[in-house]
């Protein structure tokens, strides 16, 4: 039986750059590998990937596996599942990490089946149990009402997808040394059954919710479509993005593309400003990773105050104008 050893991170690229989740995965991957006294490797796939080998090393990878094949030039679930499965069967990592992203979410369960591994999705914390040396996988369940700590006792690899912005990357260090290993992977084109016909980008004005450092979110209490314009103004001043609760979207106050919550987008900004929303658990599931939360709400009993750092008990209609004014003033100082 093959010996499973080391931590492998599956890298992602977006718009010609290594995506931030990859650096975050390398950061946590390196901590796990160090705790095990094993190596961290990064798997880079696709024609865009090769130039980023050094960057993966600078962020902590000790080995970089490079896989290139015309069938892997752009994402395809079948081709990527096949390719990563082949790589893992050659390298036999004990731990395999992917991002909880469009592709990671799609690939991870398929890989777990093919590799015979165990998988925890959307983890917000990973560590090594000092006694058993197993990876402890912490993930929110029941809409964030509870946290579950999972282990993969015997199946290998121990796989996890990691929620973006929950792990800190290492400082980039270009003096780090690592080995770059190109791998030849044969993929039969006949294995590709589901074909991507086209990718449609729906342009969102301004900064994307998932990428914003500051998110201003409105609930049903905003009351009108115009109310959301005030939130947009605030987000504009702060360089942030605007979100909405499901209740607000259901009432047509905001498009569903702005929805934050368990059934919408999951955000982990530095600052989350919750305006006129009560803090339903389904909503908190989408924003509980925020570093700081400020609340503006007329109801002092609203649950959202329980998770906030600062709060103002007042109507947003009279609060936001002076708040925007002050923020604008501070930003010019």
């Amino acid at each position: 039986m093959a010996e499973f050893k080391g931590v492998m991170v599956c890298a992602e690229f977006v718009n010609g750059k290594m995506s931030p989740i990859t650096m975050e995965l390398l950061g946590i991957g390196r901590r796990l590998a160090d705790d095990l006294g094993e190596e961290l490797s990064a798997l880079l796939i696709g024609k865009e990937a090769a130039p980023f080998s050094q960057q993966a090393v600078a962020y902590g990878a000790q080995r970089v596996y490079l896989v290139s094949n015309p069938l892997l030039d752009s994402y395809n679930s079948d081709a990527y599942t096949g390719a990563i499965t082949s790589v893992c069967r050659q390298v036999n990592p004990s731990i395999m990490l992917l991002g909880q992203t469009d592709t990671g979410r799609d690939l991870a369960p398929r890989l777990a089946v093919r590799l015979g591994g165990g998988l925890a999705m959307d983890c917000i914390d990973l560590s090594i149990d000092p006694e058993t040396k197993l990876m402890l996988q912490t993930r929110p369940v029941f809409g964030g009402n509870a946290y579950a700590v999972m282990i993969t006792p015997t199946a290998r690899p121990q796989m996890a997808t990691v929620r973006p912005k929950t792990m800190s990357p290492l400082e980039r260090d270009d003096t780090r040394q690592g080995e770059v290993i190109p791998l030849e992977i044969g993929i039969e084109s006949s294995l590709i059954k589901a074909e991507i016909i086209e990718t449609v980008k729906e342009e969102v004005e301004g900064i994307k919710l998932e990428e914003a450092e500051i998110v201003v979110t409105g609930g049903r209490g905003i009351g009108t479509v115009e109310g959301f314009d005030v939130l947009r103004k605030l987000a504009g001043v702060l360089g942030g993005a605007v979100g909405a609760t499901r209740a607000a979207c259901d009432e047509g106050l905001a498009p569903t593309t702005m929805q934050v919550g368990q059934t919408g987008k999951i955000v982990s900004p530095n600052l989350y400003i919750a305006v006129a929303l009560s803090g339903a658990v389904q909503h908190l599931a989408g924003c509980s990773g925020s570093k700081h939360i400020a609340v503006i709400n007329t109801d002092p009993e609203a649950y959202i105050f329980k998770v906030a750092e600062w709060g103002i008990v007042a109507d947003y209609k009279v609060t936001l104008a002076p708040f925007i004014e002050k923020c604008k003033e501070l930003s010019t100082q």
Binding site: A194, E195, E202, Y303, W310, D315, T319, L330
Partner: protein
Amino acid sequence: MNIIVCIKQVPDPEIPPAKFRIDPEGKRVMPPEGVAPVTSVFDERAMEAALQLKDKYQAKVTAVTLGVSSAKSAIRHALSIGAEEGIHIQHEAAGELDSFETASVLTKAIEKIGDYSLILCGRQAADWDAGQVGSIIAENLGIPVVTVARKVDLKDSKVRVESVIQDGYRVIEAPMPALVTVSSEIGLPRLPTGAGILKASRIKIINWNVQDIGAELQGVKRSQLLRLYIPVRETKCQIIEADTVAEAAFELALRLRKAKII
């Protein structure tokens, strides 16, 4: 065309956080008293996607669930909104299965049903949010899978899916049989009509158990729950009070600035 929809009954996720209880010893969630369980929100959307296809192309829709005795009501609901056939794989320990075990039972059930073009599942269940069962079933069956659909349609002999991605969607076509996991973007699920409820009451729900379909659950769990806990949320909120709302707003901005957040 036959469409199979996998649904799961879950504790109502809309209950207030104060009503949410766990049994940390038993590592399980206590069902909230007096609140009926519901069909998981994404599975409702999978059902809706199936019914949209049925409306357009005339399909036979079969709803399947694996769950405790009360899960029968989820099947009854599916029948009342338009499914022709309902299968309840009754298993009182269903809550203790991991995603691989759940998927293996559902795979066996689907193989027993045999004749299908499309399998629809929710993208994840609203209780454990594992997000794996659909993809594992597809891998078990060796059929294509498309995840997180916001639209499911047919084109020629293929299923054509709009799959949600961060900044838009991908249009993906796959030969059938195929499995598609459905997201909330597909639209609100329909409600049962009086006539639908009456019709559903006349359909006999098919009852299977794990042995009937030849599923084996003796293996070692790939994923084990080590600990379940409710995260401590210390109430450390500083309520900013001032003579006027404007002053409070100024003060909030100043504190955020002082903390170097803005």
